[in-house]
């Protein structure tokens, strides 16, 4: 699905150089989150092993990242692996872990060279040591990058995110770092959520969440952070999600934004 590209006149240049027709710079979501669902169904519908579905998904993710960067999105978060995905067949899980390592070694490396800040949210400690060290090294090396933030949710659960924040806060209360339990408020909890890896606090909550494959649910992804997020559900399976689909979702998002002039409740 082609999209005509118009150079929008823009004083700062750089990120906003190529916005497709119909999209406005001022209404671009700062933080886009994507639940990349449908790799397995994609493979099964073609009579292929699920692993090939994940490989196709990897290609689509690369494209997604490239396009978000092109359109000037500040933060892209992708849901790669949930705490609930461990029940999948051992073979598939091992394949995925290997694939994640490969993605960090090559795809993420490419992003780092392009000034993208790479980080991972989730229970990283629950992943295999080789993956953990790749994650910490790529985060460390890219932490001073000034371009887009690319956040990958690996072994992530929205409820655990909130519970971990609770634990840390409880420890601070116990250690006397925090005055009292009554000092706990929404801002404090937000500061302790895993999305605090995103430096700019106003970008920490997604403006837009896209879920592919037609599933109409959040599946325990960024529950707190999605309080006012626009949810767009797309029928296509993730490996088929292309630039045109992203533009369509962004256009729909922008249409809704115009109705409320920024007043969300």
């Amino acid at each position: 699905m082609g999209s005509s590209i118009i150079k929008s006149s823009c004083g700062t240049g750089g990120a906003y150089e190529e916005l497709p027709e119909g999209l406005e710079k001022e209404l671009m979501p700062k933080h886009v989150a994507v639940i990349m669902d449908g790799n397995r169904r994609w493979a099964k519908s073609r009579g292929l092993p699920v692993q090939l579905g994940h490989i196709a998904g990897r290609r689509a993710m690369k494209q997604l990242t490239r396009n978000c960067k092109k359109f000037g999105v500040q933060v892209l978060t992708v849901f790669a692996f949930s705490t609930e995905n461990w029940i999948r067949p051992k073979e598939e899980v091992n394949f995925l872990m290997n694939l994640f390592e490969e993605v960090i070694r090559s795809d993420m490396e490419e992003l780092i060279q392009n000034d993208v800040r790479v980080s991972v949210v989730g229970n990283v400690g629950g992943l295999r040591p080789s993956l953990q060290s790749l994650i910490s090294s790529s985060s460390e090396r890219s932490k001073d990058n000034k371009g887009m933030d690319m956040v990958t949710a690996l072994n992530y659960s929205g409820r655990h995110d909130i519970t971990e924040a609770t634990k840390q806060i409880a420890r601070k209360v116990k250690d006397g770092v925090l005055g009292s339990v009554e000092d706990i408020d929404e801002t404090l909890i937000e500061k302790h959520l895993q999305t605090n890896v995103i430096e700019e606090s106003s970008y920490r909550n997604p403006d837009l969440l896209i879920r592919t494959s037609g599933e109409l649910r959040l599946s325990n992804f960024m529950l707190w952070q999605s309080a006012y997020t626009e949810l767009i559900f797309v029928d296509k399976l993730f490996p088929d999600f292309n630039e045109g689909d992203l533009v369509e979702a962004l256009t729909l998002f922008q249409k809704r934004q115009r109705r409320y002039g920024g007043h969300k409740y």
Partner: protein
């Protein structure tokens, strides 16, 4: 809204409608029926504008729609219904509007516990969920009276979220979890000695919404697809359904559609977990 039951023809139409709904209900019961449906009743004000009514009138139509939807849910044997009646964010609206909404809410809470109300007809226990201290005294008292009057009802549950936001609910649950761990003599450090042993279950049990299981379906009218700080924690696995109609325009068929979607997804999620 005047009661229509005195008109004979209307009675017949009501009876036919009720019979049809029961037929459809028994067809739907061949599959799984959701235990808990939650509603974000969006669109009352837009409805009033659309029908050229004065502003408060939209909420009155909305109330009448709510009574119908509750009836349909309980007829279908949905045990738990939750509604988003008033968000903490809504206190920011114009004072006149907030006041008239509060007045309407108080009036309707009192109506809820009348003898012929839906609540008594279907044996519904009512809970008010939210930071109730933010409400005016008269509304708080009305809510308390309604909760007391219905606490012995055991067939179904209605949770009314008022002065509520999910983030406020979570903050409260976090505070209560911390307080509990401070007081308790139990093991205060987790296995790696890093912090208090707090887990998902601890936070969950202190939620105001612990009175109900997680919603199976969350329905938001007027075509908006945002949760707007409603049941964020509880929505982790809920089916999200957003019909384009404004709240006062929603009807039995939308509910049927939502239940059918739920049943279709139920079959798929069951299949998915079996394949794993």
């Amino acid at each position: 809204m005047a009661k229509q039951s005195s008109n004979r023809a209307t009675q017949v139409i009501e009876a036919v409608g009720s019979f049809l709904r029961r037929c459809i209900g028994s067809i739907l019961s061949a599959g799984p029926i959701p235990k808990h449906i939650a509603f974000i009743m969006d669109g009352n004000r837009r409805y009033a504008k659309k029908q050229n009514l004065e502003e408060g009138a939209g909420h009155r139509f909305g109330y009448s729609t709510l009574m119908n939807m509750l009836k349909y849910c309980y007829e279908l044997d949905v045990k738990y219904v939750t509604i988003y009646a008033f968000s903490i964010e809504n206190f920011k609206r114009r004072p006149e509007e907030v006041q008239s909404t509060m007045q309407l809410i108080q009036e309707k809470i009192e109506g809820l516990i009348e003898k012929e109300s839906i609540v008594n007809r279907y044996g519904v226990r009512v809970h008010f969920i939210g930071n109730l201290k933010l409400l005016s005294k008269p509304v708080q008292l009305a809510a308390e009276r309604a909760m007391n009057a219905t606490w012995h009802n055991s067939k179904a549950v209605l949770s009314i979220c008022i002065a509520y936001t999910s983030t406020d609910e979570i903050v409260n649950a976090v505070e209560e979890s911390c307080k509990e761990k401070q007081k308790g003599n139990e093991k205060l450090l987790d296995e790696i000695g890093e912090g208090p042993l707090i887990d998902v279950a601890d936070v969950e049990k202190h939620m105001y919404m612990a009175v109900a299981p997680d919603p199976d379906i969350i329905i938001r009218t007027s075509g908006e697809t945002r949760l707007s700080n409603f049941l964020l924690w509880q929505s982790a696995r809920s089916l999200l359904y957003s019909p384009g109609v404004l709240w006062p325009e929603i009807g039995f068929w939308h509910l049927v559609r939502a239940v059918l979607d739920f049943q279709k997804n139920y079959a798929y999620t069951e299949k998915k977990s079996k394949e794993s």
